[in-house]
Structure formats: C-alpha cells, structure tokens
Symmetry: C2
Subunit: 343 residues, 2 copies
C-alpha cells in the first residue's frame, strides 16, 4: 500500500462543485487518484481501454449502487462508497475462483456535488484495490449528471488457466465451508436503522458516527466490507466444487448453491455461533461460501459450516436444514426497515 | 436477424410493474429476450460471467444513460433506449478497431415501472446487436431500484490480433475520413427541442411522434443511431493511423485526434455538405472519424473530409481549420436547450 509519491492521498479541501469544472477537468482530478491496473495495456483517454487477458478468457461482473436504495450519505462517507463499490464487485470476481484484474467505473452525480466527494470515492476505490486485490486497478470510466449519486462498477478477473467455480458443482457429502465473517454486516445495518436515525427515522450523521465508535466491527462490516478476495483463487486451487459470494444472507445464498447443484445443504448449528438466526439471515457479509470434496482438507481461511445432502423424493433440491431440521428463512431480516428510511 | 422460435419479439401487454415481481422473476422476463454472445463461455446466473478473449486482450468501454440529462421518455420509447445504449457503446468498441463481442447491462428503475418497459429496453438491445454487431450479446447484468430510469452498459471487443487504433497516431499529410452520417443527429435534437415540446417547453409525446413522421431521418439519427460498427475493424485492417467515435460533434472530436497526435486537422468545406456549421457542430452522430496514410486508398464506407496538418510555432496542436481558416466552435450548438427541458 505504498502510494506513488505524486498521487494525492486525501480529498482536497477545495469547495469546487462539478458544475464549476468541465468533465475533462473533473476526470483530471479523479484519475490520478485511481490505481493503475497491472493488466492495463491502454488506460483512460481513448474511446475504450485495452486489458490483458493472458488466460484467453475473462470474468466479468457489474453492480450499480444508488443513493437512497443502496446507501445513505448520512451513514457512508465518499471513501466508504468507493471502498464498498470496489469490494462487492471484487468479491463476485473472486467467487468464480478468479483473480481480479481491473475495474471500470461510471459515476453520475448532481452538478452541485463537491469535487471532493468524487475524490473521496476514487480514494476508497484505490484503497480497497490496494488492500484486497493488489495489481487490480481502474482502466476507464464515465461521468454523467443525475439527481441521485450513482456508481456503476464493472469488474474483471483472470482465471489463470483454471475452470471457473460455479454454483452448480456441489455434490452430496461435500463439506460446506466459509471464508469471511458471518452476520456482522446485518447487525451493523440493523443498528444503523434503529440507532443511526433521528426521532423522525431519518438517517443521522452524528448518531451514525456514535455507532461507529460503540460498534466498530459491525458498522464497518456493513459500510466498508472486507471480503476475503484472495480466498477465491485459493479455493479454486484447492478444488472447490461450488462457490458464491454471500451477499443476501447465508441461508438464501446456500439455497442458491443447493438449487443450482440439485442438492440440499445442512448446517451444523455448533458452527454458526451463538446467534444462529443472525448468522443465517444477515446479508452483505460478502464472505465466500464454498463446497469441497469430503476427503479434501479445507484450504487456509475456510472453516466448516455443514454438509451437502442429497435431494430425494421427500427433500427437494435447494432445501436448507440446520442439524437436519428445516430452516425458516423469515426468522431475521435486517432489511426490514430499509425502504422506509430516507437520507 | 432470424429470431429463435422461443424468444418473445415484442413487449408483453401485461400491466405488471417491477414492484409486483421478485428480482429473479423480472430477470426471468428480460434475459430470454436478450441475444446470447458467441463469445459467452458462462452467461447469467452465477456471480460473474466468463467471456472468451482469444486475442489475449480485450477492449472495454462503459457509458451510463439517465432519464432527464440523457433521454426523455416522451421522446424515446423503451426500444429506442435499449437500441441507443447498445449502439453508443458498440461504437466506442469499434472506434478502437475491435469487433464487439459482449455487453453487460445494469438497469435501475422506479418500482412503479411496468415490466414491459424493461422488456422493450431488452428488445432494443437485442435488435441493435443483431443489426450492427451479429454475434455480440448480453452476458450479465444487475437490477436496482432508483427514482430515475438509469442504464449502464459496459461493452467488450476483440482486437483479432491487431493493434488498437488510438487517437494519437495521426501524422501530417494523412487523409481525414469519415464513415457514417454527419449532422443529422444534431438536427434531430434541435427539432425535438424546438418542436417536440408543449407550450411550456416540456417534452411532448404527440409532438415528438409528429416529428418522427415529418423528419424521420434526423429524429432517428438522434434517438436510434446506426453507427457503422463494421467500419471499425475495416479501418484497422486498412491501416488507419488514428480513429474515434464522433460523439460530441465533428470539430470537437477532430480536435481530440489532433491534440492527442500533436497535429492540426484541416477540413475541406466542399466535403462537409451545404450546412457546414451543422456538420462541424452536431453531436451524437456516432460516425467513425479516422486518418489514413496519404498514399492508401480509403476503405469501403469512408469518405474524405480533409487532411492532417503539421503543428508549428504559429499553429498549435489540436487546431481545427476549414479551408485553412480557423474554425469557431461556438457557431452551432444543438445542446443549447438541453438542460432547460424536463420530462
């Protein structure tokens, strides 16, 4: 994480807004802050970028984050937004067993937005890439006007000669294992909804900042997740039979592997911690859930959560059980309040 | 353009909105309408897609279109929006001399949006790919909620062993040539601003429809551009020294080649048609502007517009002239009214 000497490392204190500058001038402020990609053959400045794909294939995923439905500016700093936009996309690349190589970024923002907000987003993207996927960088982008701050990231990865790890390869008897955290992001969101708002339920900067002091791990897991990107290629090398990024909660995402693979998954309650409903229901943890052949040792970073079971006439594919008993997914939903809160 | 027998070819007449369906159900309605990519090794349904890159490199560009700043629903049908989102991105890929291979699409829309709107967008994307870049298809996407309809497309291309054609390779004496239309899109926009609005200046469906009958070529050039995608690889094979997509007007975009190449560009007024200011100032034509060595024959589809000139102590790099005289870029600006019109 040693910065180049000439790259600014924190947002400028200027009060200029996007409306004060040309698009070219704004891009000129943002691009120097972004990390270069080792795979970049041609970067920003032409009609398109050119990226190296030595494997002869590339992995691609895209995700859009919009102010309101996806984030609140009272809770997330610009740096947080850039970090999360990178982290969630890198995690989808890693979930294929690929090594992230590059991102492109489209930003739309109101003309009244301070340039320092975009600088902060760029800094968050850079710091996330440097921390979680060294060598991955930003090779291009687009800047538009909008009423709501919007980030669209598309991320690329290289499979390094390996087959992609799909959701559909889990087999009965396989070990179900996780790399990453479980439940913290959901707790963080629930705390923000309950205590990070004012008396009218509107997201509140000061109360959110207080939560960041009293519950740093949970709030950080929600606002600035640290997915185990390196675990993706490690799991692929270790022979993972299926894998995905846990974005909607362990039970829902395990159900996706189970359905795609035509199997069931049984979790061992002793592996899920003290708050089982939180572990199963919390979203946005962005850990990597993978399955491995029964006789193979789990690779570093992964811990056992359960076992793949066979579907049958009485147990349909996609069924999730805990200690053999059906799991009710409606137990805990940290998103319950999401649509009701503005700001 | 022969459709698969089981692919729906026109929007459903259902009145369902996005709020009536799960995200999975909406995607299930959209994806069957989208074209598959010949380069697709793994399509939608996993954490990321896998695309073939036989060249060992890939070209990438991204662009966001937002209701309000970038389009008006009173003027553009959903099919128009899908078409234009694909066409503009394909054009940026072609401008590198690459063959478009695949797209990913992130859509954000209000929950009240009829599903048929998204179906129409998908149909427009499909029809554009089939018409302009056969074999190019949609390999993945993302669906979000927002207040303003937003489309973010990222497009990929294959260089087929060739060097990318950059903006920076034009040399004094080179022929400046264009494939595509010139000025129609700007005239179409000016017509829409002036005559496609009601008495209060608000974009109006009926008046826009009337314009589509009286000025079909100009309005279509603005709302559903047909960039000469095949001309990109053709120009590269013919040895184009520089190339770009004409998106902001001939004079501005020629200036970009000239600045990047350290040269000037002189247009021959006899090659610019009867309305020279419109030819030089109209934006969004999405033709391909390229330069070729003086002794090489222009490839099919390209016509001569002028000559690359040397920069000097008195003529700085980036200078655009017409018949040797400096060009004033402020002559005609079809976007003058853009920010003032809502709807």
């Amino acid at each position: 994480m040693t910065p180049a000497a000439d790259v600014p490392r924190s947002p400028s204190t200027s009060t200029e807004t996007l409306a004060d500058l040309s698009e070219g001038a704004v891009l000129g402020r943002i691009f120097p802050r972004l990390p270069a990609a080792a795979a970049e053959l041609l970067g920003p400045g032409d009609d398109a970028a050119v990226i190296s794909a030595p494997d002869g294939r590339f992995v691609v995923t895209t995700d859009m984050m919009i102010q309101g439905p996806d984030f609140r500016l009272a809770w997330s700093t610009p740096h947080d937004l850039g970090w999360k936009a990178a982290a969630t996309n890198l995690s989808d690349v890693a979930a294929m067993g690929a090594r992230p190589t590059a991102l492109v970024l489209a930003i739309a923002a109101p003309p009244s937005t301070p340039v320092s907000v975009l600088e902060g987003i760029a800094d968050g993207l850079r710091d996330c890439c440097e921390a979680l996927a060294p060598g991955c960088g930003v090779v291009g982008g687009d800047l538009s006007a909008s009423d709501a701050l919007t980030l669209a990231v598309t991320a690329f990865g290289d499979l390094e000669g390996r087959a992609p790890v799909l959701r559909s390869g889990a087999r009965p008897g396989d070990t179900v294992a996780l790399s990453g955290r479980l439940g913290d992001a959901g707790i963080g969101l629930e705390l923000l909804f309950r205590l990070g708002v004012d008396a009218d339920g509107v997201p509140d900067l000061e109360r959110a900042n207080a939560l960041k002091l009293t519950h740093p791990a949970e709030v950080a897991a929600q606002l600035t997740p640290v997915p185990p990107i390196a675990s993706g290629p490690i799991a692929a090398l270790a022979g993972a039979t299926a894998m995905l990024d846990v974005s909607d909660g362990l039970a829902i995402d395990a159900g996706r592997i189970a359905r795609a693979s035509g199997v069931g998954i049984d979790f061992d309650s002793a592996c899920l911690g003290e708050r089982i409903e939180v572990a199963l229901g919390g979203g946005e943890d962005h850990g990597l859930l993978a399955t491995f052949a029964p006789d193979s040792a789990l690779p570093p970073g992964f811990r056992r959560l359960g076992t793949v079971t066979a579907a049958s006439a009485s147990v349909r594919a996609g069924t999730i059980t805990v200690d053999g008993a059906p799991h009710d997914q409606s137990g805990w939903d940290p998103y319950r309040g999401w649509d009701g809160a503005a700001g």
